[in-house]
Symmetry: C2
Subunit: 362 residues, 2 copies
DNA sequence: CTGAAAGCGCTTACAG
DNA sequence: CTGAAAGCGCTTACAG
């Protein structure tokens, strides 16, 4: 590493900054008056003559006085700092990361709400993984409240946060055994229901659902939507049509059994499952939407367009970020109401090209 | 926008945040001791027994005490918070944004240096554009120091920052009329010199340089490298071979004149200039590297691979971010030395496929 | 209408 | 080794 160091003189050290008391002295008023005038506090039961205000402002200008924001915050008991905590690095190597659109929305709304943002880079244990509690201390406490996000959350930390009453909002639904938390999620259930309904309207009677084995909330929500659609449409739900497993566990035999059982459409929860499905279909000489229909339950984050024009729904990530900030600010505005609030935002259906009327129906 | 609100009870209201005096009381020591133990001030002429330290830490853990960063800043003038200020949104709509790799490096190094990061989303004026001074208050002051970056900086704000003695490091060379600032830049001059030398070694004798009209430091540095190369290689430099203008101002006539004057290779400072050059060359029935050679002076940030395999150099953005943090931390460690420091990091030459021996030389 | 005073939660000399 | 005290620069009741 070659570096060039060039040293130059900086300007002379600044003289002491004028403070409130200097202004007060020059304007011949008490410091309190200076504070009231500068902050234009009309609410206080104090009437200040225009002449006095003028004197104060003149003194401010003459001295070039600027209030110290730190002192202001200490005295005013708020710092308008909002935290963002992620269990992984917040600026990850992959550009199109999962987090990105959320951060976009968070930044935008935090700016609109007139807060600054604190990123907890320091909150990492010896193993490099981040955690909220360092030496059993809640490191988020330097902010007024925080937005948490990430898939590898530590639920016992969340529980502890709730117990301590620290204001926070999670992005994504998270249910804890010992109490609800505030969160903003996407309405996966409704989005999935919509896709099933769309398939049924195209003529499909038997729709398989390929889901990961983990019972994460986001998966449970999708499954709930799948079940709800069947119920609402009066279609019998066959439990065997729900496959819970990783992509590697999806075998040609499984898919052939599905076809043999009259399945004409597939719901895949994630990109690996979609890929595996298409791979097997290809082996079987079948393609979508000619021989079967296929939809992905939520837009992919890992890569661009792994499957072009797939039927899917868009997760409103940016809007979720914004909404999380709004919710948090609202929580902070009403510290007396000890209630967790949950918000589900609608996804956007994308018709795509992988769902069509079933072959036998043509 | 459809939202579902579900209300549930939160845990009991958080009790008052513990403060230093609470810890002191529980540990049966004075607040001063708590401060000394927590900040591990071995320097002070105070010896504290291991038992006392243990009691303090136990009390800290039991109460979940976290020092108030604002109070810390007011009293001790430091709080291990580093700021990042950008004149544009920090999480911009374009994923592959200019800022991204810098932030990557900043986050990584800030974490390594055990600081937290403050993003100044609030520092935006009425017009939506951000500015450091709000009502003439330096909003960066809540942090110990800050990294600034962005192309649309306000130089009078930078001057003011210098005058006030606020510690900061700019990413990119910036020269102010009234005093040097600390910055970390890429060594554009050396990188450009290297490319010219590379072209000359391939046999090119006359190399044109297309640069934007603005005299930004990054442009001046490249031009300096271009000139230096000519001087070192004993090649006469013809001023007309430097074209300063936007892409739209580059005309087929200009390029034809260059060819007629014996130019066999082109340096283009940015992607629009490269594109324009290739467009015109195409019109003239010429292509690189067959009929002419072409290099881009620095990797493109706007989009992926606008020109595959172009000869160029990589700007060490991530490393610049890390180096900026290191420099800032160093500046903070030596507040007495009122010196600005400048660091230039080397770029990486990429041979690419658009430079070859000139046609007439074959 | 205005001033004197307490307090925000820390750090850092300064005495003992 | 430890404690009492001052001070950082503000805001906000509370008296007058």
């Amino acid at each position: 590493l070659i570096k060039r160091f060039i040293k130059t003189k900086m300007g002379p050290k600044m003289k002491r900054r004028p403070r409130q008391s200097d202004v007060a002295a020059l304007a011949a008023v008490s410091p309190a008056i200076v504070s009231l005038v500068i902050n234009d506090r009309a609410d206080s039961n104090v009437r200040i003559s225009p002449e006095t205000r003028q004197r104060v402002w003149d003194a401010v200008r003459e001295l070039g006085y600027v209030a110290n924001p730190i002192a202001r915050k200490l005295a005013g008991n708020q710092n308008r700092l909002l935290g963002v905590f992620t269990y992984e690095a917040i600026f990850p190597l992959e550009y199109r990361n999962f987090y990105y659109p959320f951060l976009l929305g968070i930044e935008e709304e935090v700016q609109a709400q007139d807060y600054d943002l604190v990123l907890f880079t320091r909150a990492s244990g010896p193993d490099g993984r981040r955690s909220i509690y360092q030496d059993s201390i809640n490191s988020l406490q330097i902010t007024d409240g925080a937005i948490l996000l990430g898939v590898h959350e530590n639920r016992s930390e969340l529980s502890r946060l709730v117990r301590e009453g620290f204001p926070f909002v999670f992005i994504g639904r998270r249910e804890l055994p010992d109490g609800a938390i505030s969160y903003v999620t996407a309405d996966y259930s409704e989005a999935t229901r919509t896709i099933v309904e769309y398939m049924v309207r195209q003529g499909h009677q038997h729709i398989a659902y390929l889901r990961p084995p983990e019972n994460r909330e986001a998966t449970l929500d999708r499954e709930a939507g799948y079940r709800l659609a069947h119920q609402q449409l009066g279609m019998p739900l066959i439990e065997q049509h729900i496959f819970a497993g990783d992509a590697e566990e999806v075998t040609p035999q499984l898919i052939e059994r599905f076809f043999a059982a009259g399945i004409t459409a597939f719901l895949a929860e994630n990109t690996p499952l979609v890929r595996r499905m298409l791979e097997i279909a290809d082996q079987l000489g079948k393609s979508a939407p000619r021989d079967f229909s296929l939809a992905l339950l939520g837009d992919h984050t890992e890569e661009i367009n792994p499957v072009p024009d797939i039927t899917t729904f868009l997760i409103p990530r940016k809007e979720m970020g914004k909404e999380a900030v709004r919710l948090l600010v609202d929580l902070l505005a009403h510290p007396d109401e000890h209630e967790a609030r949950q918000i589900a935002l609608p996804c956007t259906f994308v018709a795509g090209q992988t769902v069509a009327a079933p072959f036998h129906a043509e």
